[in-house]
């Protein structure tokens, strides 16, 4: 089992969610995150005053999938979240030791 963490642009969330649903992935954890990266925070000047946006708002999606699905899911997210511009985000794949469903106590694949 693997955990896939994808950091993407907020406006791409709906599309990515939909694409993953089509692949049969129904459950995911989504959070609003702030980040720095190559797309640095920037300074805006408006009517003579400066406004510094020192972090970039992003959305983080977390999914647990069976190891066999990883490539397909990663590819799908990459394709969907891509705009070709700086700040499109990153995808991380992490190993997961165990998954337990709280209600039933099921473990492993059954619990995903």
């Amino acid at each position: 089992m693997k955990k896939i963490e994808a950091i993407i642009k907020p406006f791409k969330l709906d599309e990515v969610k939909e694409a993953l649903n089509e692949m049969g992935i129904k459950g995911m954890t989504i959070s609003e995150v702030k980040g720095y990266g190559r797309q640095k925070g920037h300074k805006e000047i408006y009517r003579g005053a400066e406004y510094i946006v020192d972090f970039i708002p992003k959305v983080k999606i977390e999914i647990i999938v069976d190891a066999g699905m990883v490539d397909a899911v990663v590819t799908k997210i990459r394709e969907t979240a891509n705009t070709g511009k700086i700040g499109d985000g990153k995808i991380f794949v992490l190993p997961v030791d165990e998954v337990i469903r709280v209600r039933t106590g099921e473990t492993g694949k059954e619990a995903i």
């Binding site: 406006f11 609003e32 702030k34 408006y46 003579g48 406004y51 970039i56 708002p57 511009k85």
Partner: protein
């Protein structure tokens, strides 16, 4: 086993409830059942004797026993009975515990009762409801008498203050976000505790037992009593079912129960709203009825009983409204009937002074609501007072709240009735729609005080009204923004807004979600899309309003709706749109096409009339106007040449009047223009100034009338004549301005505390220009003085924006010196700055 019997009886009760027994009768039946059972236990207990009596306390004492409520018992005993108490309590309590009931119990002598009651206010009020069940009657009676003699008589004031303090603390504790969405039927504002608080006080202080007695004593009106009783009956039914549904003593309307409860009470979905939303609306309305009635009750009793307040002097604020003991009073019923807008003036005064409205006057407002008819809803005076509340109230939320509670707000804006106490069945919208709207107005006010890039709105009253109305279209079956925008248009018209203001109001209501939704869902680097946004929004002014409204709306929605994260996205999209709009206030040229493309368009438009000297048009000018206007300006230049007269073209555009002025450039041109406009009662809001290379100045100014005059009433011809005189140096602007504003300038007035003027000179923010910002307290002729000072330094103004923030104006000038470079020398900067400060600090006026 005894507990089996009790369980069976309680099951039977639930069965009766399912058959339709509810409300008070169910509570009485339940109390009776427990009474019978306990009396049986007591009488069958061999150790129970004449030195003891069994007493019911609290809700059980009042025979208001909800299905899973605690059963509060007191075993009162004489000191001699001490040894026998063990077996008696066991005989009484074990069966109750076995049956799974929650029992609150105490075993006390009379002396211990009194001592505990002195210590613990909750026990004290529980004793108020003491009811004899079994055992010694004389013992019970002596306790009862001792209690009233020692704790109530002579302590009425203390009792009242304790009760009010507990009530306030409880309201705070249960007023938090989580209890808005899931109201606590017992402890929340307007819940059972408030009902009891009123009854306890009536009982303890005046010996009044029932609601009917309270009404007869004149403490509440028959109408209030009626609504109150109705609300109480409704809430009793709710609480009964809530207990049975939860299977425990639960008094909070948890989200997961709301739908099932609504169904049980036969609320079904309609086209506009879910059944559960209508159901919750009724609950909130009933809670509100009880809250309002008990508020008024406590103020009344406190005033009757309390020590007289300081400051007994009576002060009349205006005919019909006075201040007495720090409360506002309506004093003249005949005057109210003659001039019903006095009802709204009362709230304007409350907003202005920050004083509360006396409870009797609040009742007077409610009693006079029949005066709020269609005519009054169209009255200018009424609207003026209403806007006064929206714009100037110190604590606008509480003033509007009282206005809503008295019924005046819904009488004045009947569109509000639909959304009064309307709940939205999701975990996101924490407040009911009406409260959310009031909160939005308050949040907006906080924003305009704090610094945001978009502070300073030209029509704050339109924005405030938009905040109050943005969700007014909820609860219909259509899209609420669309519906709301239609309703808002009607309201704006009725309240006497100008056509442009009404259009703006309706726009704001329709688009109030636009920025928040777009910021989250669209690619903010998609230039074509951003241009579309800019085209929809049309002007920086509207963008500013939308931006402020979006933030205020989110902040007023609930703890999850506004985050720094969302704020960053909202700021980003707004700044991007702002940059696009700044290029031109109305129509957006296609910047990707560039100046060459513009020239081609203009040439095509003009055909044969096209002049040869296109080179004179600066690039920045070309990119600021659509081709049609550039062509028009070129034609006007011919007039300028022929007549040797400045050309003035006013236009009534959406939010402002715009004035195009073309003249030969000369030193101090803008100062003369500003001075002449001021002389004709026009305030400049923003200005763009361009100079062609042939010396033709093209100034585009947005102006707004200082007094209430319409576009048609403005004498544009006279203005043109005066301007031409001024340009030929034949008009003494300085002395005329002093003359015109003599009264305004001399008025000693109680000036509000004013911020110190300051001047900021900034060479960094703009690549091309030196930006000079002047923060000053507004006065007539100020802009004339500032622009003239800049002209004295031979500084050319290329762009200006004048906005006001309360009493302070912020004038921003994009300038270059006479060599068309930035002001780089620090000593020159210092000199300009000092000269402007001198002007800004001079409250006296247009000098020399």
């Amino acid at each position: 086993m005894v507990d089996v019997e009790l369980r069976a009886k309680r099951d039977a009760l639930e069965y009766l409830w399912r058959q339709g027994l509810s409300g008070q009768p169910l509570l009485h039946r339940h109390s009776q059942l427990i009474d019978d059972y306990l009396v049986g236990l007591f009488n069958n207990c061999p150790e129970a004797n004449e030195d003891m009596s069994l007493v019911a306390l609290g809700g059980y004492g009042r025979k208001e026993l909800f299905p899973y409520s605690d059963i509060d018992l007191l075993l009162l005993h004489a000191p001699e009975a001490e040894k026998l108490l063990g077996p008696v309590t066991e005989a009484l309590l074990y069966p109750l515990w076995d049956a799974g009931l929650e029992v609150g119990h105490g075993v006390r002598t009379i002396a211990a009762c009194l001592a505990d009651a002195r210590q613990d206010f909750f026990f004290q009020v529980a004793l108020l409801d003491a009811r004899y069940l079994a055992g010694s009657v004389p013992l019970f009676n002596s306790m009862h008498q001792a209690f009233h003699r020692e704790l109530i008589a002579g302590h009425r004031q203390e009792f009242l203050q304790n009760m009010m303090q507990h009530r306030n603390e409880r309201h705070q504790r249960y007023g938090m976000h989580s209890y808005q969405l899931e109201p606590h039927i017992k402890e929340s504002r307007g819940g059972f505790r408030d009902i009891q608080a009123m009854l306890w006080v009536s009982h303890a202080l005046f010996g009044l037992q029932e609601l009917r007695d309270i009404e007869e004593a004149g403490l509440i009106s028959p109408q209030e009593k009626e609504a109150f009783a109705q609300a109480r009956d409704f809430l009793i039914k709710i609480r009964n079912r809530l207990h049975y549904l939860s299977g425990r003593k639960n008094d909070q309307m948890f989200f997961e129960y709301q739908e099932e409860m609504a169904k049980a009470f036969k609320y079904s979905d309609t086209r506009g709203a879910l059944g559960v939303e209508r159901f919750m609306q009724d609950i909130y309305r009933h809670l509100q009825t009880i809250a309002t009635t008990t508020d008024l009750f406590f103020e009344h009793v406190d005033e009757t009983l309390g020590a007289p307040r300081a400051n007994p002097v009576e002060q009349t604020l205006e005919p019909g409204i006075t201040v007495r003991q720090d409360r506002l009073h309506l004093t003249d019923q005949a005057l109210i009937e003659k001039r019903p807008h006095l009802l709204m003036r009362l709230f304007a005064q409350a907003g202005k002074t920050g004083l509360e409205i006396h409870h009797r006057s609040r009742k007077i407002v409610t009693a006079n609501l029949h005066l709020v008819d269609d005519r009054l809803r169209h009255s200018k005076r009424m609207a003026k007072a209403f806007f006064d509340v929206l714009e100037n109230a110190q604590d606008v939320q509480s003033v509007l709240s009282v206005m809503l509670d008295t019924g005046l707000l819904t009488a004045y804006l009947p569109e509000f009735e639909q959304i009064r106490a309307l709940a939205q069945h999701d975990v996101y919208h924490v407040f009911t729609v009406d409260r959310h709207l009031l909160q939005t107005v308050a949040e907006l006010k906080k924003l305009s005080l704090s610094k945001t890039p978009f502070a300073g709105v030209e029509s704050p009253h339109v924005l405030s009204l938009a905040a109050l109305l943005h969700d007014v279209g909820k609860g219909y079956h259509e899209d609420h923004s669309q519906r709301g925008s239609e309703l808002a248009a009607g309201i704006g018209k009725r309240l006497g807004l100008t056509e442009a203001e009404t259009a703006c109001l309706s726009f704001l209501v329709e688009k109030h979600l636009f920025l928040s939704v777009t910021a989250l869902r669209r690619d903010l680097e998609d230039d074509a899309f951003l241009r579309q946004c800019a085209e929809q929004i049309q002007s920086p002014e509207r963008l500013t309003m939308l931006y402020l409204l979006s933030i205020a709306d989110a902040k007023a929605t609930g703890p999850t709706a506004w985050t720094e994260w969302k704020g960053a996205l909202l700021l980003e999209i707004s700044l991007k749109i702002a940059h696009l709009l700044e290029r031109k206030d109305t129509v957006l040229p296609d910047k990707s096409q560039g100046a060459d493309w513009m020239l081609e368009q203009v040439r095509a438009l003009l055909g044969k009339e096209a002049p040869a000297d296109y080179g004179i048009l600066p690039e920045e000018y070309l990119l600021s106007f659509p081709p049609e206007e550039v062509a028009h300006h070129l034609k006007l230049r011919e007039d300028l040449k022929n007549k040797q007269q400045a050309v003035i073209e006013p236009a009534d555009s959406t939010l402002f009047w715009s004035v195009l002025i073309m003249a030969h450039d000369s030193t101090g041109l803008l100062a003369k223009i500003c001075g002449t406009l001021a002389l004709h009662g026009l305030n400049v809001v923003s200005a763009q100034i361009f100079t062609w290379e042939d010396g033709t100045a093209v100034d585009m100014l947005n102006v707004r009338p200082a007094a209430e005059q319409t576009y048609a009433e403005q004498d544009w011809r006279a203005l043109g004549e005066d301007l031409n005189l001024a340009l030929k140096n034949r008009l003494g602007l300085s002395h005329r301005l002093v003359d015109k504003f003599r009264t305004a300038l001399r008025s000693p007035g109680q000036k509000n505390v004013q911020a110190a003027p300051r001047v900021v000179i900034d060479n960094v923010a703009s690549e091309q220009y030196t930006i000079i910002e002047v923060f000053a307290n507004d006065r007539p002729g100020l802009l004339y003085d500032i622009t003239r000072t800049l002209a004295d330094f031979e500084l050319n103004i290329h762009r200006a924006r004048i906005s006001s923030d309360g009493d302070q104006v912020v004038d921003v000038f994009y300038t270059l010196d006479s060599f068309a470079t930035k002001i780089n020398s620090p000593s020159f900067q210092q000199e300009v700055s000092q000269a402007l400060l001198h002007i800004a600090e001079n409250l006296g006026a247009v000098k020399q």
